[in-house]
């Protein structure tokens, strides 16, 4: 049981990072990014490939963050000038392009078979109980660092201007500041969080393949963010926790209702998550955190 809990919390910790990245982009700057998984994938593959070539794991992870950010820069510069609904579509297409390229470039990524034997940091290569706990601690440490970083940014003059941009972009322009620069910076930053989450995922599961990086990851992160409340750091954390609890709980549906075949189970879980999202948007439109705070 405790092995199971450690695994669930590690996965949650990784989702917290993804959700924080999206919260920066959408909740903070109003950017609609439907391609968040692209940077999760880039982070995972960069760190995996480098470490499989003998680069120390922590260095690979740092490189993954930097490369995810560098990938976001040109995409952001192009897409953020588009109308916001076009940004969403452009990012969806970008994420699919990344996933298909990962499947196609066999020489580098192992194609659809993916990459195996990705080393763990600290205790490699053996994966024991102590190792999993250490890794969980490492993931949580990254979460804490991310939260502190976001606090610093949101409460700075930079954060103040980003909030101004979200309220009225034309007024910001009329007062002599270019909204595009700020939006691109937030986009790159959020993507860097995605890259870090990807690197942590790759070294945790030690096996990655393109089918782990489909658009459904992006939408799970959106769901987590909306569940918790898009405008709050605590919302991202609570939302990721709720989503994971929900996904894990629905895993046991098959014990209660044995007539659903395992292959149908995935669809049933997705439907259950969708239902929960509808219920939440009806009863907690600003997220459960805001609802709780107002009580």
């Amino acid at each position: 049981m405790d092995t199971y809990l450690v695994a669930a919390f590690t996965a949650t910790g990784i989702y917290v990072l993804l959700t924080l990245g999206l919260m920066l982009q959408f909740g903070f700057a109003g950017l609609i990014n439907f391609g968040h998984v692209a940077f999760f994938a880039i982070g995972a593959y960069v760190s995996a490939i480098l470490s499989l070539h003998g680069v120390p794991v922590l260095v690979s992870m740092a490189a993954a963050v930097i490369l995810a950010a560098m990938a976001a820069l040109p995409v952001g510069l192009l897409a953020i000038r588009l109308r916001e609904d076009y940004l969403a579509i452009a990012m969806l297409a970008f994420a699919e392009t990344v996933r298909i390229s990962l499947a196609a470039e066999q020489w580098l990524t192992g194609g659809i078979n993916g990459l195996t034997g990705i080393p763990r940091p600290f205790f490699s290569p053996g994966i024991g109980r102590a190792d999993n706990l250490t890794y969980l601690a490492f993931v949580l440490l990254m979460d804490v660092a991310a939260v502190l970083l976001i606090f610093r940014i949101v409460r700075s003059p930079f954060g103040r201007l980003v909030r101004a941009i979200r309220d009225d972009e034309n007024a910001v322009q009329a007062l002599g500041k270019d909204p595009v620069r700020f939006k691109v910076v937030v986009f790159v930053l959020g993507s860097a969080f995605g890259g870090l989450a990807g690197a942590l995922q790759a070294h945790y599961v030690t096996f990655i393949s393109p089918d782990q990086f489909t658009a459904s990851v992006t939408f799970y992160v959106w769901i987590a963010m909306i569940l918790g409340g898009a405008e709050r750091i605590s919302g991202a954390i609570v939302g990721a926790l709720l989503l994971m609890m929900f996904l894990e709980a629905t895993r046991f549906i098959s014990d209660v209702v044995p007539w659903i075949s395992p292959s149908d189970m995935a669809s049933v879980r997705l439907a259950a998550v969708g239902l929960a999202l509808i219920v939440c948007t009806v009863y907690f439109p600003h997220g459960v955190v805001v609802r709780a705070a107002r009580r």
Binding site: R152, I153, S156, P157, F158, R160, L161, R163, A164, R166, D167, D168, N170, A171, V172, Q173, A174, L175, G176, K177, D178, F182, V185, L189
Partner: protein, 252 residues
């Protein structure tokens, strides 16, 4: 030092909204632009401030060519505008609205937040000091911690003026500052604009409220159907029969 508008024309589809409009507004003067609805006043502002590309003509401010400039560079050169419908940062306090408008803050670069935190703190303190001065000047201190969304229409106009002042402008362009504003606040706004003008900040005002505008400005330009039909001192312009005709309607 002046704003020079030279033969500016703009058409939307088949509609000629501005037809070779030329005037120059020195910064030591207070210039009013009036005209009936649809005369092209707001379009003229949008063309000058870079929000709309003009078809023909040129706009210069001091040594800068504004003809192809973006709103961002126009504002950086000291030509700052407000909007007909106020555009406050609704979810921010009045004070934060002002703080966000302070120009070129080093704390707006992430690099400086982490590499030069002391410089950021020092600058922030100076900006806060300046915001308090502006709040005092506009008598907005009591509203400093209110959300902008809670202000009245007149208070929003004062807030917009405050934000403009934070940018240290050379010429302020106000689009209908008196519309929907309480007469007491109109008087206040006029006092503020006059004292700013005496400090050397120019102002160009679009307005429907002729009475209040004639009190404020030293020169009136009348636009009708995209053309300037009168330009001179308020008393001369208001007694011009053409101007009355444009407002009241022409005899058939």
């Amino acid at each position: 030092m002046s704003l020079v508008v030279d033969g500016v024309s703009k058409a939307f589809g088949g509609l000629q909204v501005l037809d070779a409009v030329s005037f120059s507004a020195p910064t030591h003067e207070r210039t009013g632009i009036v005209g009936p609805n649809g005369a092209g006043k707001s379009t003229l502002f949008a063309c000058i401030s870079g929000f709309i590309r003009l078809d023909r003509g040129a706009v210069h401010f001091e040594s800068h060519d504004l003809t192809q400039a973006t709103p961002v560079s126009a504002a950086r050169w000291g030509l700052v505008r407000t909007f007909q419908v106020p555009r406050p940062y609704r979810h921010m306090t009045v004070r934060d609205n002002l703080l966000a408008a302070a120009p070129s803050q080093s704390g707006e670069r992430l690099r400086n937040l982490f590499l030069a935190p002391r410089q950021v703190r020092r600058e922030e303190a100076a900006i806060r000091q300046r915001a308090e001065e502006v709040l005092g000047f506009l008598r907005l201190q009591s509203l400093a911690n209110q959300q902008a969304s809670e202000l009245s229409g007149g208070q929003l106009k004062l807030l917009e003026l405050g934000r403009v002042l934070m940018t240290k402008p050379k010429l302020i362009m106000l689009d209908e500052p008196f519309a929907g504003v309480h007469p007491v606040l109109i008087e206040q706004l006029c006092t503020h604009m006059t004292s700013l003008n005496e400090q050397g900040i120019g102002c160009v005002v679009i307005e429907h409220n002729l009475g209040a505008l004639a009190e404020l400005v030293s020169r009136l330009i009348v636009l009708d159907r995209g053309k300037i039909i009168a330009d001179g001192s308020p008393s001369a312009v208001l007694s011009d029969p053409n101007v009355g005709a444009a407002y009241v309607g022409r005899p058939q």
